[in-house]
Symmetry: D2
Subunit: 356 residues, 4 copies
Amino acid sequence: MTAQDRLQELRSQVDTINLQLLDLLSKRAQIVTQIGKVLEELGGEHYDPMREAQMLTALEMANKGPFSNETIKALFRELFRASLALEEQQSRAKMRVQRKAKDERTIIQLPNGAVIGDGSFQLVAGSCAVESYEQIDEVGAALAARGVKIMRGMAYKPRTSPYEFQGLGEQGLQIARQVANKYGMAVTSEIMDQSQIPLFMDYVDVFWVGARNMQNSFLLKALGKINRPVILKRGLAATLEEFLYAAEYIVSSGNPNIILIERGIRTFEKWTRNTLDVGGVAVLKLESHLPVVVDISHSAGRRDIAKPLARVAKAVGADGLMVEVHPNPPVAMSDAKQQLSIPEFNDLMDDLAAPI
Amino acid sequence: MTAQDRLQELRSQVDTINLQLLDLLSKRAQIVTQIGKVLEELGGEHYDPMREAQMLTALEMANKGPFSNETIKALFRELFRASLALEEQQSRAKMRVQRKAKDERTIIQLPNGAVIGDGSFQLVAGSCAVESYEQIDEVGAALAARGVKIMRGMAYKPRTSPYEFQGLGEQGLQIARQVANKYGMAVTSEIMDQSQIPLFMDYVDVFWVGARNMQNSFLLKALGKINRPVILKRGLAATLEEFLYAAEYIVSSGNPNIILIERGIRTFEKWTRNTLDVGGVAVLKLESHLPVVVDISHSAGRRDIAKPLARVAKAVGADGLMVEVHPNPPVAMSDAKQQLSIPEFNDLMDDLAAPI
Amino acid sequence: MTAQDRLQELRSQVDTINLQLLDLLSKRAQIVTQIGKVLEELGGEHYDPMREAQMLTALEMANKGPFSNETIKALFRELFRASLALEEQQSRAKMRVQRKAKDERTIIQLPNGAVIGDGSFQLVAGSCAVESYEQIDEVGAALAARGVKIMRGMAYKPRTSPYEFQGLGEQGLQIARQVANKYGMAVTSEIMDQSQIPLFMDYVDVFWVGARNMQNSFLLKALGKINRPVILKRGLAATLEEFLYAAEYIVSSGNPNIILIERGIRTFEKWTRNTLDVGGVAVLKLESHLPVVVDISHSAGRRDIAKPLARVAKAVGADGLMVEVHPNPPVAMSDAKQQLSIPEFNDLMDDLAAPI
Amino acid sequence: MTAQDRLQELRSQVDTINLQLLDLLSKRAQIVTQIGKVLEELGGEHYDPMREAQMLTALEMANKGPFSNETIKALFRELFRASLALEEQQSRAKMRVQRKAKDERTIIQLPNGAVIGDGSFQLVAGSCAVESYEQIDEVGAALAARGVKIMRGMAYKPRTSPYEFQGLGEQGLQIARQVANKYGMAVTSEIMDQSQIPLFMDYVDVFWVGARNMQNSFLLKALGKINRPVILKRGLAATLEEFLYAAEYIVSSGNPNIILIERGIRTFEKWTRNTLDVGGVAVLKLESHLPVVVDISHSAGRRDIAKPLARVAKAVGADGLMVEVHPNPPVAMSDAKQQLSIPEFNDLMDDLAAPI
């Protein structure tokens, strides 16, 4: 027999074993599914690490090679994981934030008629912080003139240092509400603790969870119990998986109306404040049905690239962009380098209106 | 005149100007100090961005080169910053967490007599989570036998997914308290929301703020109002500066007894769960008087390098280390790969006892 | 005198000192400029750290507060840096790769008539590696049919492991050249060592420097001596500043025809292979006159987001994009997950043709 | 039958299937091993992606659930990978740089009698760059007085900017050799291109590959052909796996005498120049038999934490440390902030001599 022939024969033996393995794997999966049902009757957890440890020990003792025990255990651990996934998939919906059908979409309606997530491109805009009525009124007028429907009205500022400006508090919420009403806009404002929910219910259309609170699970769960939309910002070093799980905390607690914001991740690069993860936005739009907005202010930290980043937000298929606008950026109490002046904002809007 | 002579002469002109500049800078600083005092009388903010903008404009208009307006503004902005720092330093203590004298130390006494921050090397140890009384009792006995004084009693687990084990809750706190009392240990447990403070006061000796909550300023401020020590964990992508400012939130709210934990930062490396920032620990010990503890479990995410990392914690001058211990790591409900078994823990203690 | 009046008076004193400081700074800058000229006559370095150390010591000795010696030294160090920058700017052109006029552009002409950098949007496409004539011919035909003018013809593959496929070598270059000639395309191929230059001159229209060699200064300088364009890839953890300096190595050695490629940077994110730094592309287009191309294959590492990333490349103002295409991606010898099949490539081209 | 009984029975069915799977996996592995031998006779590659694609298609067609095709393919891909690993392990040594026996060690002898890798703790020290004979002589005398055996003699400096000091070149090598001979030390110097090998053979005892060249495979392979030890520095964003593979390039080309240096990785942290990956050092010592040295100068970028980091290097089990020493750090032509003065170096040596 030639080497080629032997190769042929050995390979057909492998093919046979492959099918036998498949057969056993399928049988095993069916039984495991039944186990899952029994466990549910018994009220137990599907995931039983002790049982897994026993099975691995039994396999280790039976293994005579040529695979090492390490390899055998690794292969079976993969199988356990697949089986567990199968059970979880069958007994419980998968992650609620994940896209099931290709065109599934969460579409969010705001009281002022604005819609986000329906394929349109929405702007969320306004000053980094509410500093005075005059400031917000001036910005609000400019935004309204360009059709912006959702205004930032930040009254509580999470700051790195306790000695930095922490926001105007309730007075800031009042100002934002007043201006928004005047111009027919919705208000979004950052909530920093679940104890603030009743206060915010009086002023705010869209709750905002900042990057520092992305994994504040008590706050997330509490926001799952209200019936207003929530903007959830990606943590500055959160993976996309962690980001979606944070949204899942809210959604699984009862509130499906979540808007994700990508705001740049922390890297070693120094010429931009953060690194806008545009590939991440593309992946989020692929994996999730939630609207995704691109924050072109915090991600860049510099106003001179606002225009190309706004075009990028549109091009990648995001549902909108977030941009900071201030009547006089150099004297802003925070984020002076990245806020646009009103003429710069108008310029950006003109640029966005043109096809790319 | 030779080139060398001309060089000599030009340089001496520069020397003269340097001293004139110094003289003006000092005069300016004195006046600015007086301005600070007047502003305090008037109840105004030291930092006045509008005033800065005016001064910069005046300089820009007066500038005839050769420095560009950009450069002049950059130089004066540095000067403004230095002046502001001077005022802040004079009117208010600098950051309270910063070391002023070379041997300044925050020494923390626990009710069970344990002391941390006095130059001794303390262990904080215990299972990742309280799963049952038996488990904690078994671990507690092993820890006590090796002289450990501070036990983990984690009852609320911050998890990436809402579907993962979230801890036993109050029952977990009860178990931890009971076991700690039995063996004369202090209990530390992670608090996740300020609403839990009253509950934790009943069970816990040392409050623990996790990495995800490092910048939860509402929680930090609330912990500044209690009279129990707080362990503060570095956020997974927090800079050292942000870490110290987070501690400052607590200290400036009234609670000086903070223990910092370095637990590894997030990087691209995959063979360890995180990257233990040992240089960061050295810098923290240099810059701050607070005790610093090294978490050798979460930083590595693998138990096979626990021993060298424990030696590292001692060598870098940390005030202690944090290590997870479980009676049966492979079946632990969380962090299975990184928890030490009891024999492994004993082995680690033997290794640590030997001089390096 | 009221507090307000005193404030007014103190502030006007500060204004006067500001102008005196400006005057002294300008005088000092003029003298330093003269020193620079003398130093050039003498053949010395502008930067003289010993001289700086002496000046700082003199200032330290003269300083009587209220600024600390630290602050005074920091302020003067800023001044030294500004002075040095001024000298450098005057005696030598600034970085050659930096944009001086707003509309300055490096426009590169290839022998086959393709032009890059003139405002058009060019495609650089082809398989990750040359594996066979048939493969490259099939891809080449597909590319040519869609008007692609620059083809990848990778014959030397930099691989992490010495045991992975290292490329076909000269045979690969021959195949690429042959196919490119057949379809009227230009060939680009990665050079890994300066000793390969003569060989590459026989086959390649555009030299390609990979991410791993971005700071191989011997190779960069050698490529500065040839008269063919060079594509320079950003290192996987290079800052934008380092990237531009790498280009400067080539340009300052004599070759102005450099094309920059952003290919994603290394971060902690796992759902994409790298993180496409789209903000970095915007900054590069702002700061430099060199053409910038976006690599949508390596940055993402997954073909399912190729379309949105291609639109992003166009939207951000890049001069083109780089995409990998393979007749049968699942069996490709490298980068199987990210290469597009020919139908996927055609689909991408259709998508790109539509306005965004 | 009770739920508990049914659970019991279903679980015993799973146990049976597990053993059947194990049996099939072992049989399959034996056949695959035979296939590997036949392939070697035939001169083919073990890894055959086309064959894998065929097998996956066959399984997909045969799969009737309940596992999805995705899951089945994922499980079999794991199996293919395990099989390939088995073949590779059997037909070829695994990575040569990996530790096989627990106490395996590469011990390197230098011509001056110094030994590294034998469990002793060696110092590699000297100025960042050779600037003059006087400077190196002064440092050399100080190092020799403290028993240092390996001296830095850096004559070619890889610099970010082409306009920065690039080293003295051959003159620098001459100076280093002369001083090393005077004090009985070995010289190590950074080589930047394979064309420099003959020159370096005249002057240098230990070749040094810098971080920027860690993946310059042409240089690595060329250094595999010489019979002098090589110090290989980890790239600034290289994973440990990439680092070991870079060493493997040299070792697999014939030169087993490699010393690894961890020099800190690039992260977002700003208070240290890089982040010393001490956990990485622990992992390298576990996984590889090569000596590992800790660079306490570049990793920190600040001399004020040199002492604790030196203790860390010793504590983690490294084979030595690398530290930069300069007669007058503030005026050094490079790395001014991190080089130790001679008194600081002596202080460090005293500190290191004490037990921790």
